[in-house]
Each structure stands twice: as C-alpha cells, then as structure tokens.
Symmetry: C2
Subunit: 171 residues, 2 copies
C-alpha cells in the first residue's frame, strides 16, 4: 500500500480474530510510531504494550468504551506526563494525536486493524500498567486482525463533503 | 512510497523552492486528509488553504515561529470550534493531531515537505482568513517542495531509543 491507500484503508476496527500479531511485526509497528513528530521534539510519551489475555481483559475496564480491548491481539497504552499549564496540555494532546495516527497507519500497512479509546479509570490503568504517579494513561490503541474483512482502501466514507470542509483563500 | 517509508521520510521542512504545488495535487492531499478519524466522527475542523503570496506573508505574523509560512507554496490553516469543557478541548486537540498527521503524510507521499506551527495572534488570523467568532485557528501546516533536498526516507533520526519508549507488559 502507498500512504494514500493506507489512509483510505484505515477504519475503526473493534472486533478481532484470535490470530496474534507476530512479535517482529508488532516491534516494527512500534518502531515506526516512534518517529512521530512532537513540539520541540519533546516526545513526551511512553508506550506500554499489552498482549496477555488476562491483562487485556482487565484493561478493558478502564472506560465504558474500551470493551473491545479485551479481545484485541495487542493494546498499546499511550502514557504521558501531567501538566498544569493548559497550553502545554493542548500541545501534548495534539502530539499524542500525531503519535496515535502514526502508530495506526503503520499498523494499517501491515493489515492490522485498530480501535482507539479514551481512559477514565486512571487508578485501574496505573495498577495494571505500572506507570509512575506523575503520568496518566491518555489513550489506548487496540490492535488485531479484523474479524469481519481485511484492511483494504475504502471507496466510500462518511465524512463531511470536500466543499464544506475546505475553503480556498478565506472561509 | 509505502506508509512506513512516508513516515520515515516525513521531516520538518521550513524552507521551500518557488515551485507551486499543482492544484490537482493540493486538492488530492486535502481530499485524503478529510478521511482523518475523530471522536464520534465529529470532524470538528475546517481547513482554509492559502496560496496567495501576500496573504502568506501576512499570515507569517501570527506567531514568532510561523516565519516560514511566508515562503511556503501553500499553507493550510486548521480551524476549530472553541469549547469551554476541558475534556472536549483535550479530545479536539488529539483529533487535530490526527488530522495534521494525515494531511502531512499525504503531502509526504507527493514529495511535499511540511512544517507546522502554533498560532498566537488570533485576531490577525481571523482578519486574514475570515473564520467566524466562535472558531479559532488552531494550527498552520505550511507546505512546499523542500529547498534543501527531496523527501526520502531518513535512515537516522533523533528520537528516544526504542527500549526507553516502549515497555512490554508493564512500565
């Protein structure tokens, strides 16, 4: 796939086959994600990778929208520092979005489907993942081979029309 | 390029040749970016595309780090709604990060270099871009063909080591 095909193939995948992601593929995806850009190249993130079934099932309890984590082949927890400054947090979240998109598109290239989710139960997440008190679990990216159909570029999508989203010159 | 090569080729490009981006290439990049995911598929963004030299030169004044916008072939302003709720803003910024990364990787595939920047002078941005009072200009993504060397996968990069960033099982 070229990049444009991968972007067109990426979709929200929340049901996975039982097939594990080979260790070398998972490592390659994570290694690619590490290249994501960030403000001042601060890379204020860590990735905790969970593949143990019991740990995944417990991790699914960190938010009502995280149930699909239980059946994923691997879930990557994005861990970040806590800041008091709203502008730092704004920049941090933007950078986490860049990291997640890089991670997800790298996985897409390997035929892996991803479904990301927020985290509300921080105490549970910390207990399960062991990150320090000055960090929080910002997002989870669940991964696996799709239960429904392979990852292929989608011809149709449910996005706002081009003419509505894109303005040339001025709004 | 495949996706992994594009991720490895993407770099912060802030000096551009005089060559314009063909209209159909720019349109294709924007059309691909439109596929970026967002929480609840809300797509809370608009993109204002500037290619006029005088307008680009004026737009370079919206932040001390935006000087390179003046010499870009095109700059895409990411416009978003103002929210009071911190959680909505957190989610919005994450989604804007996903949009920016999608836009930048789509441009990379076409050999276009990008340099994104924050915006502090919102009044000036609004005057130049004409977006409504209930929105703000979140980020600018400047684009153009690199003045130094073509966009090619980088063998080396200045990122934290894999073993430091990635934790298996627990932190």
């Amino acid at each position: 796939m070229n990049t444009l095909e991968a972007i067109a193939a990426r979709r929200n995948v929340r049901a996975y086959t039982d097939e594990p992601i080979p260790a070398e593929v998972l490592r390659a995806v994570l290694d690619t994600a590490r290249r994501a850009p960030s403000a001042g190249n601060r890379q204020e993130w860590d990735m905790v990778v969970v593949t143990d079934r019991a740990q995944l099932q417990a991790l699914a309890g960190v938010w009502r929208g995280a149930g699909h984590v239980a059946g994923s082949a691997a879930t990557v927890a994005l861990i970040a520092p806590k800041h008091d400054d709203p502008m730092r947090n704004r920049s941090l979240e933007f950078d986490l979005g860049q990291l997640a998109m890089t991670l997800i598109l790298a996985a897409t290239e390997h035929g892996i489907g991803c479904g990301h989710t927020a985290v509300s139960e921080q105490d549970l997440a910390r207990e399960l993942l062991g990150f320090p008190d000055d960090r929080f679990c910002a997002w989870l990216v669940a991964m696996g081979y799709p239960a429904d159909r392979p990852i292929r570029p989608l011809k149709r999508h449910n996005r706002r029309p081009f003419e509505e989203v894109v303005h040339f010159g001025t709004w």
